[in-house]
């Protein structure tokens, strides 16, 4: 990987995100919801605040890697700018790494905003952020594969909408019944919820459920990387 090219791509991707209204709106939705819930539930009490933060963070962690990432990749395919980059011999993995880093950066910004709007405890912030990042990283390869599969932004939307729902809903419904609980236990967004709950109650996050949750994310990251690599070798990025 070439450092100068990575820096150029990152700069470009950040700039294009800021210029893309669809992306800005999607990123602002969790923040907007958080502010709205905070306002609606302001009189209800302590428990609600945790609920608002949890739901907004999960929203951000799932929508950015599984919706925005594929759309960013597909946009460059649709407009043939990916082709132009490849003709200048930018490599596929440089292109994708930059996009993934930008998405992780966005996740960090949005989950931070949500944390402070919802009134999270400042003491827990770094543990919270780490949990959010690990969980989002677990979903990035899934999003990158969706991006590889889609030809244009419209098809990226079609593929990513169910992905976003499937990653967002399990932690929220895990309490419904056993089946939901078992499924949700292996989804990275639930991992975030589990780790953060452990942090809030002062438990050691490297033990019990929280450790399992961390392992789930690690498996998603490692498995995703391997699967993505196989997929990428077979399909290529732009042919």
């Amino acid at each position: 990987m070439n450092g100068k090219i990575m820096y150029t791509l990152l700069k470009k991707d950040i700039k294009s995100c800021l210029a893309n209204k669809n992306i800005l709106v999607s990123v602002l939705i969790p923040i907007f919801f958080c502010a709205l819930y905070r306002y609606l539930f302001s009189g209800i009490g302590e428990g609600m605040q945790g609920f608002v933060l949890n739901i907004s963070a999960i929203f951000a962690i799932s929508i950015i890697p599984t919706s925005i990432l594929p759309i960013m990749i597909a946009e460059e395919k649709e407009k043939y700018t990916l082709r132009s980059l490849m003709l200048a011999h930018v490599r596929g993995h440089e292109f994708l790494t930059s996009k993934i880093l930008v998405c992780l950066g966005m996740t960090a910004v949005v989950s931070t905003a949500v944390f402070f709007i919802a009134g999270g405890d400042g003491q827990d912030y770094f543990a919270y952020l780490a949990a959010a990042m690990v969980s989002a990283a677990g979903l990035c390869f899934l999003g990158a594969m969706a991006g590889l599969l889609s030809k244009d932004q419209a098809s990226a939307g079609t593929i990513s909408a169910p992905l976003t729902l499937l990653t967002m809903l399990p932690p929220l419904f895990s309490g419904f019944n056993d089946v939901f609980e078992r499924i949700s236990a292996v989804v990275p967004t639930t991992s975030f919820q589990t780790i953060y709950t452990a942090v809030q109650s002062g438990q050691n996050i490297l033990s019990g459920n929280s450790l399992t949750a961390i392992i789930v994310c690690a498996v998603w990251i490692a498995g995703g990387a391997v699967l993505f690599d196989v997929f990428y070798r077979r399909k290529g990025i732009d042919c």
């Binding site: 470009k12 294009s16 200048a88």
Partner: protein
């Protein structure tokens, strides 16, 4: 003259389509080499094989003395594909800035300014690309292709879908660049363009190179060797044979015009590609 590119027995198959079948190519340093052929003949595929975008099934390619996949090559060649995209939401300047950084262009600001002036877009440098006309966009793509001073340029239909005036501008740019020493590999469907610009031409049909030579050589080779004589009585076509011609001229009293029936490059192209198709 030395070769800047050499391809030996290049072959590429997609499924059961033989896109390229044992093609030999030699591009000489400093020339504009025209690569002509009907749609689907394999022109774009050839460019992909020559520039390391695609692996061939068989055959060898040497570009500037190296394998086309070697990383050093990218600094020395420029590729304008028939599907090159620009960042529409960014300005003209920003589009070049990104690629100058990717190529590691030295004296970046000065070089971008010079290149924008060369394609006559300097005054529009702050405009968003989405606000440009089609011709301006094509000139910007061209500017981006030559930004890093490539020694060898691959242009895949650079004037397709352009109005005549803009196409002329692009052709002028190509000629100017070539005069300054850049070697050009050009594909086009425009026969007049090929005739005007190219020093040598290869005709590709169904993955085979069916003819190669300078436009003049090709036209002479496929000349019907006929002369058209116009007299007061009408027109008459006779073969370009010295004795026959003298006989004919002696018989004629009211000679108005003598016209050699030289084929155009278009005629050569059509006859060769039709023959093959038949």
């Amino acid at each position: 003259m030395t070769n800047i590119l050499k391809a030996n027995q290049l072959t590429k198959t997609f499924g059961n389509v033989k896109a390229l079948d044992h093609c030999d190519l030699e591009i000489r340093k400093g020339e504009i080499f025209g690569y002509l052929g009907p749609s689907g003949a394999g022109k774009t595929t050839t460019i992909k094989l020559l520039t390391g975008q695609l692996h061939s099934d068989a055959g060898e390619v040497t570009v500037l003395g190296k394998n086309p996949f070697s990383p050093e090559i990218r600094q020395q060649i420029g590729i304008m594909s028939d599907m090159s995209g620009l960042y529409e939401k960014m300005t003209v300047y920003e589009n070049l800035d990104i690629f100058a950084d990717i190529y590691g262009v030295k004296n970046k600001k000065k070089k971008i300014k010079e290149t924008l002036e060369a394609v006559d877009l300097y005054d529009n440098r702050k405009k968003k690309v989405e606000k440009l006309s089609r011709g301006m966009k094509q000139r910007l793509v061209f500017a981006r292709t030559i930004l890093h001073n490539p020694r060898l340029l691959f242009l895949d239909e650079p004037t397709a879908n352009l109005d005549p005036a803009t196409a002329d501008e692009i052709r002028e740019l190509i000629t100017k660049l070539n005069r300054n020493g850049t070697t050009v590999f050009l594909t086009t469907h425009n026969m007049e363009e090929a005739d005007e610009l190219c020093h040598r031409i290869a005709l590709l049909n169904k993955g085979h190179i069916v003819e190669c030579g300078s436009p003049e050589e090709l036209k002479l080779k496929y000349s019907k060797k006929k002369v058209l004589i116009t007299t007061g009585k009408g027109k008459k076509e006779i073969s370009l044979d010295k004795n026959e011609l003298i006989d004919e001229l002696e018989k004629t009293e009211d000679l108005l015009m003598i016209h050699s029936e030289e084929p155009s490059l278009r005629d050569v192209f059509l006859s060769l590609t039709k023959e093959e198709n038949a």
